[in-house]
Symmetry: C2
Subunit: 336 residues, 2 copies
DNA sequence: ATAAATAATGACTTCGAATGCAATAATCAA
DNA sequence: TTGATTATTGCATTCGAAGTCATTATTTAT
């Protein structure tokens, strides 16, 4: 039970009667070692329980094999899943995820400095509101970055995102063609870029279709906030024909609120659409009409793009926009 | 735009006219440095954009400041949230989460070797089925481990878990006292320790209360699996008085299946209980009677215990069992 | 068999910060 | 002012593996 001392490449070298360099080469792929020494080293290494120290390797190779993933501390509803997926693909590339939490937006500069000290091979940002200057900070350090579901207009950034524009227009088309007249938009938190984007797209497109001055109320993406926002607005203004929610969970809240407290039938008296395509949206009690974000492809694309920049730092920035799939549920229905 | 060279402590030392040691000491808390050199160093460091390299520091101090978190690749439903929480508390301790994925149980030994090479300060395991031997492997390397929601009987391990026993008994008491006669247990995947534990506790306690040979069918914790398991069993055997599901999501599946395909009313004709207390369980359309796992306390406890072992390696192993809160929803009702 | 080409090896340096130790400077007491 | 204490400093070494370069062993060609 004595405190095990760490076995180093020198220990193995001595024991196997070779040089430390030889041991090192055996553990690096594609280096020239004779079969004899290779087996000798591998045998003694196994016998002594030697594994190359990742930290020392990082220091000398200047490559940590780690990818920094930045998530917001007040986690957006489906980010945990995104994180899981990312981790899966990153692990497939034989790299590791090093997690960083961003508490408030103004910590970003400090956080990036911090990330940099870890010599990470790349960064994937889920939550941060990136300014151009932050990106430059990382560029200076030659660290490739991919933004997930975050568009920085006219910046040279790698990013993947689901086309909110296309998706939201599809949803609104259904409502518009279904002859809905009065609308309500329930948007997400205003400090979220994505939430603002979804809101703006909806409002603009509605206007374009002739629905001026559509009211907008705000939630925080949660079930409760959806319920309350809907209850409060309808209490004062009556029931609209259709509610456009910035995510599925709030849409579910709206549906439940209608069901519980009002004698409003969804979809007969009220149509509701969401966004994201999370699993509860498909549950029988809700069947929300929504756009499913291609989570799997999005995360895979993010990792692909990042790997490409890591292996080939001069590749130009790339934005990959994937389109979500329209899911026509049972929460919308044309008016007579 | 030229490739920025890394600023080292030597560079700062030269520029500030002091030794490298001085620079190092300025950046370590609690070391003796005169006020004059401290400011001088800090100024030039800031001017040159110097930050101590975390990797080099890890190598020399033998402390990485990283906590390995092991998650299963086929993620258990609510692990993403657990991960987020853990990350939050670990970040509070000024440490980082390094994620590791376990694909199949037999990779564990290799994975642990791998983890060890990163010199992590500690390990939190969410998913792994740990054998005593694996634990010894880490113990040899002096790396403290905390198991999350995983009991290794008569092993000296640090662990936190929610008392399944107490919770499930509470749920069953409600059903039993509510005069339910026929039961069905829908268990989780058999390769999950937690799932098996929940199943066994339910069956044993039911037996103890005089309900022999309660049938058990299996799902995989998913909504669909809950629906199908319930549909299949009732199709062949009729509707029981009560269904005990190993998690909330399957319970929700059961409720929806009853609602959709059968003219079974929950809770009038059928009582359903779940486990976990995930948010959808509280939604108006379901209101599942369940036990809420104290996620926040569990994760906090895990991190606390780990930090204690890191700072004081000789602390004896500790198991902290937290009790979940019973939530009486609207999915259960006493029989006449 | 011998020159030429190739493969394998080891000595030594490197990555960047931390720290033991000895030397020096600053402070204090008398 | 001098010696004793204490606070700062710098030198040199360390952590553990990787890679450069020159050297030696091996293979191939002639």
């Amino acid at each position: 039970m004595a405190k095990q001392k760490r076995v180093t490449s020198y220990d193995v070298a001595r024991e196997a009667g070779v040089s430390q360099s030889a041991v090192s080469r055996v553990f690096r792929p594609g280096f020239s070692v004779s079969e004899k020494t290779r087996t000798k080293v591998l045998d003694t290494a196994k016998k002594m329980g030697y594994k190359p120290n990742a930290i020392a390797r990082m220091l000398i190779t200047q490559q940590s094999g780690m990818i920094a993933v930045i998530v917001s501390s007040r986690a957006n509803v489906n980010y945990p899943e995104v994180l899981s997926q990312l981790n899966k693909y990153i692990a497939q590339q034989n790299k590791r995820v090093l997690l960083f939490t961003l508490d408030s937006a103004d910590d970003l500069a400090g956080l990036l400095e911090n990330i940099w000290t870890y010599q990470v091979d790349g960064v994937i940002a889920l939550a941060a509101h990136f300014e151009q200057s932050s990106l430059e900070q990382l560029e200076q350090h030659q660290i490739p970055v991919v933004l997930y579901n975050r568009n920085v207009p006219d910046a040279n950034v790698n990013s993947v995102c689901c086309s909110h524009e296309r998706g939201i227009k599809q949803l609104i088309n259904i409502l518009h063609e279904g002859n809905h007249k009065s609308y309500l938009v329930i948007a997400g938190p205003t400090d979220s870029d994505v939430a603002n984007e979804r809101r703006d797209i909806a409002c603009q497109y509605l206007k374009q279709l002739g629905h001026d001055n559509v009211p907008v109320v705000y939630g925080d993406y949660s079930y409760e906030s959806g319920r309350k926002a809907f209850a409060k607005w309808t209490g004062a203004n009556g029931v609209p024909d259709a509610v456009i929610c910035s995510n599925d969970i709030m849409a579910i809240g709206v549906i439940d609120e209608a069901k519980e407290h009002m004698s409003i039938s969804v979809p007969d008296d009220l149509s509701v659409v969401g966004f994201d395509g999370v699993s509860p949206a498909a549950w029988f009690s809700y069947q929300v009409t929504t756009i499913r974000q291609p989570l799997d492809q999005l995360t895979k694309a993010a990792v692909d793009i990042l790997m490409e920049r890591i292996n080939n730092p001069d590749s130009p920035p790339e934005t990959r926009v994937l389109t979500g799939a329209l899911i026509e549920g049972n929460s919308t229905k044309p008016r007579q």
